[in-house]
């Protein structure tokens, strides 16, 4: 409340008017009855916030193992390996992948969402055996279409449709969802060289709040069917021979067969309970048959973090009052009436301010210590090629070097020792974000590129990343597998190279001299965005107090790979990235 002043200054000859005497302390009593605010409380005061007074949050997660195996037994990701994946129906409808609810006042929500999707099954709709039903019939010899997938053999895959949103397994078969039809001569022909038959994955993710998809969070284009012009420009536009414009379709969605998708928003909400979701949908390739098409996308790991940042004080202020006895006409002015029951009562109240004396929005930043216990960012910019192998979804094994070792390789760490400000005593929540620029994923071969069907295998190369923390008390890293994200090499031309090639050929150079000689390119150029939330509910009770480092880890595998493609023959290269960590006192 604003400043208060006495209406008059008592002088010796004044008549003691009860109204004027009341004016000496009643305004202060009124002020002290739920109206104290930042004008009244000294800015030197440090106010202790109650639990969730400054912010509140909710964190939901789902952990699903895509089952990519372990060294010596790498295999394709499949929903058969998990019981906790969420299917994205081919119905063009937004479907919840993860859901959180939170009750707020008038607030802004800071939302972070994460979803790792895998395209785990497809049919060759362009193939001769496609009957349009979405179910590969016996005449459609898919296995015959993929004769050259040499590693790992066939793994089973389920055939799935949706009945009223419920996933129904129609058929269990033995087709290989990640098999590829490619020969060295097909390597330039995507319509033949890809199991996906020339289609992108066609999935979009977004954040949905109270049933409304936040359109600015959609991972795609506003018009998902937008066609985009190919930037060919006729040299002579007036020539009768000039080509008409050429367009690319289906660029408005996520194209890769697997990808970790992170998204977020700042969104204002009204008071009440809110439902926040990470949602996904698939964009149809064709009209009629797509909803029953035999290819499906599944979300495996997913996370949703929602932080409530109040923007208007809640209406439910708890008010306490100070009630001195007011003087009335003909009352005796006594020690009790003007002192004990009057001025003294108000003074006592002001000397022991209760929460209920304070109004809505009473305290400003001057009255709070920062809730930030720790905040830092680490960046890295050294181009590194690593060969350490994916040790398995649940493994905490750490590779000590970049080469030929099973385990997660530490790409970048953030020092969270208590000496760096890390809070080990209060109840806290930790938010970790990471980005890594993956420039290429490689498959080398000892064989002459001309002598093998080099196109078969390169898309099977997968790099996986995740976040972990180091416990000083146990001396071990703990991997947070809910943060695990995977990407596969997807450039359609081969990235095979001779393992023991000439000295002029370094990692990353394509060596097929007839087609792709001399390129030192970086064909993948993914940005992998990860996140994880750490609090008392996600980790062991004493974990946060013992964390002395948070790390970003990487590894590589080749799907369907038995033992043939190991020994430094698969690799991933990254060139820069960052890790952000902040810890908030609750």
């Amino acid at each position: 409340m604003s400043y208060i002043f006495p209406r008059r200054r008592l002088r010796s000859a004044d008549i003691l008017d009860p109204e004027e005497l009341n004016g000496d302390f009643i305004p202060a009593a009124e002020l002290c009855s739920g109206k104290l605010n930042a004008h009244n409380v000294s800015r030197t005061v440090d106010v202790t916030p109650d639990s969730a007074a400054l912010f509140d949050y909710v964190y939901e997660k789902g952990v699903a193992n895509p089952g990519m195996g372990t060294p010596g037994a790498f295999k394709e990701p499949s929903h058969e390996n998990s019981t906790n994946e969420v299917a994205i129906p081919n119905t063009f409808a937004w479907t919840a992948m993860e859901t959180a609810t939170i009750t707020t006042g008038i607030s802004k929500l800071w939302i972070l969402g994460f979803a790792q999707y895998f395209w785990t099954w497809w049919d060759d709709e362009l193939g001769s055996g496609w009957d349009g039903s979405g179910i590969a019939d016996s005449s459609f010899n898919m296995e015959g279409n993929y004769p050259n997938h040499g590693f790992g053999g066939w793994t089973s895959a389920k055939e799935v449709v949706f009945d009223g949103g419920t996933q129904v397994v129609l058929n269990s078969s033995t087709y290989d969802p990640w098999g590829e039809l490619a020969t060295k001569y097909d390597a330039h022909n995507p319509s033949k060289g890809y199991a996906a038959s020339g289609y992108p994955c066609g999935v979009q993710f977004a954040i949905r709040v109270d049933g409304q998809v936040l359109e600015w969070t959609i991972t795609g284009k506003h018009n998902p069917f937008e066609t985009t012009v190919v930037p060919y420009q006729p040299a002579d536009v007036l020539s009768a021979a000039a080509f008409p414009p050429n367009y690319v379709k289906r660029t408005g969605t996520c194209g890769p067969e697997m990808f970790p998708v992170r998204m977020g928003s700042v969104f204002p909400v009204q008071a009440g309970e809110h439902t926040i979701e990470v949602v996904a949908r698939r964009i149809p390739r064709s009209a009629a048959s797509f909803s029953d098409a035999a290819d499906h996308v599944y979300t495996f790991n997913r996370q949703l973090f929602v932080m409530d940042m109040p923007t208007f004080p809640s209406a439910t202020a708890s008010v306490a009052t100070v009630q001195p006895d007011a003087l009335e006409s003909e009352d005796v002015v006594s020690a009790k009436s003007i002192g004990t029951d009057g001025i003294d009562a108000v003074r006592d109240a002001l000397n022991d301010v209760q929460p209920g004396y304070c109004g809505r929005g009473a305290f400003t930043r001057d009255h709070f210590a920062s809730p930030v216990a720790f905040s830092t960012q680490e960046t890295f910019s050294t181009t590194t090629t690593a060969y350490n192998h994916y040790p398995g979804f649940s493994s905490d094994d750490v590779a000590s070097t970049t080469t030929d070792e099973s385990g997660w390789y530490l790409i970048q760490s953030v020092n969270t020792a208590s000496s760096s400000g890390w809070n080990t005593t209060d109840s806290t929540v930790v938010v970790v974000l990471a980005n890594i620029s993956v420039t290429k994923m490689m498959l080398t071969t000892t064989a002459n590129p001309y002598s093998v069907d080099i196109g078969n295998f390169y898309r099977d190369v997968v790099a996986s990343f995740q976040l972990g923390y180091y416990r000083n008390d146990t001396g071990a890293w703990v991997m947070m597998k809910r943060s695990q994200g995977s990407v596969n090499h997807q450039l359609w031309w081969s990235m095979n190279k001779e393992k023991y090639g000439s000295s002029a050929i370094t990692d990353g150079k394509i060596v097929d001299p007839g087609w792709l000689e001399g390129s030192d390119n970086e064909p993948d150029r993914f940005d992998v965005a990860l996140m994880v939330i750490i609090d008392d509910s996600t980790e062991a009770a004493d974990a946060i107090a013992n964390i002395t480092s948070i790390g970003l880890f990487g590894s590589v595998l080749q799907m369907g790979n038995g033992s043939a493609q190991e020994d430094n023959e698969i690799s991933y290269t990254y060139d820069k990235g960052s890790v952000q960590v902040f810890q908030l006192k609750k």
Partner: protein, 246 residues
């Protein structure tokens, strides 16, 4: 500091006017109930904990964002100069905010969907050059300074074999496969109050300037056609946002 009592009222004594006035309002610190309540209250209850309703909005956490839906296309022959890396802002993927007070950190985040036509061109018909791989890359700047850890190159997405008899204009494009989302972050710590601006920018190497004879010829129907080729970066739905914490 506790408000000091200047007058202890007692029955039978003359009321001290000056002391009474000091009890009500004083120019001396920690005297007077009204004067102390005018910004000098310090004595909170020992168990005092402020509740959610007591926190003035935006005093600890602040969040802002801006966004754009419509796809923005950038072509290499319209915005760049091969002699230098000229980055231009990506419309709708920027945020300019005023921070009214110093904050412990500002977490900048930005998202965009990118589909890019970035060709790899082999065996140039006219020049005999081995290969062209035009560079397309994005970066972010904060208050005009490049955030080096945010620089990302767009993936190659088309293969063009430039031979007169072996040209397929359509089936070597993989832009739809390479379309992908980006969600990136940068944390600035100990940020001073004032205006701050994040921009996402794009650079497209104008390779056509260097290789004017890059051409796609097709004589299948008897015509000989020459087409200049450019690269393109198309930004789908995008946003930029910031979280600041006291």
């Amino acid at each position: 500091m506790t408000i000091i009592k200047d007058l202890d009222y007692t029955n039978g004594n003359t009321l001290s006017v000056d002391s009474h006035n000091e009890n009500v309002y004083s120019t001396t610190l920690d005297h007077g109930i009204m004067s102390t309540a005018n910004g000098d209250l310090t004595d909170l209850s020992s168990s005092f904990k402020c509740s959610k309703e007591h926190v003035w909005p935006g005093e600890v956490f602040r969040g802002h964002q801006d966004f754009q839906y419509d796809t923005a296309h950038y072509f290499s022959n319209t915005i760049s100069d091969a002699a230098s890396e000229e980055f231009v802002p990506v419309v709708g993927c920027a945020l300019r905010v005023y921070m009214p007070y110093d904050v412990t950190f500002a977490l900048w985040q930005w998202s965009f969907h990118l589909s890019a036509f970035v060709p790899q061109i082999d065996q140039l018909y006219d020049t005999g050059e081995d290969r062209v791989e035009p560079l397309v890359k994005m970066r972010s700047t904060l208050n005009g300074a490049t955030l080096e850890h945010t620089v990302r190159a767009a993936p190659l997405s088309a293969y063009l074999l430039n031979e007169p008899t072996n040209v397929d204009r359509e089936s070597h494009h993989f832009e739809h496969y390479m379309a992908r989302p980006y969600d990136m972050a940068h944390m600035a710590t100990s940020v001073s109050a004032g205006w701050h601006e994040l921009q996402v920018q794009v650079f497209l190497e104008n390779f056509a300037d260097d290789f004017e004879s890059i051409a796609m010829d097709d004589s299948a129907d008897g015509f000989t056609r020459t087409q200049l080729i450019n690269s393109r970066a198309s930004f789908g739905i995008r946003n930029a946002r910031v979280l600041t914490v006291l």
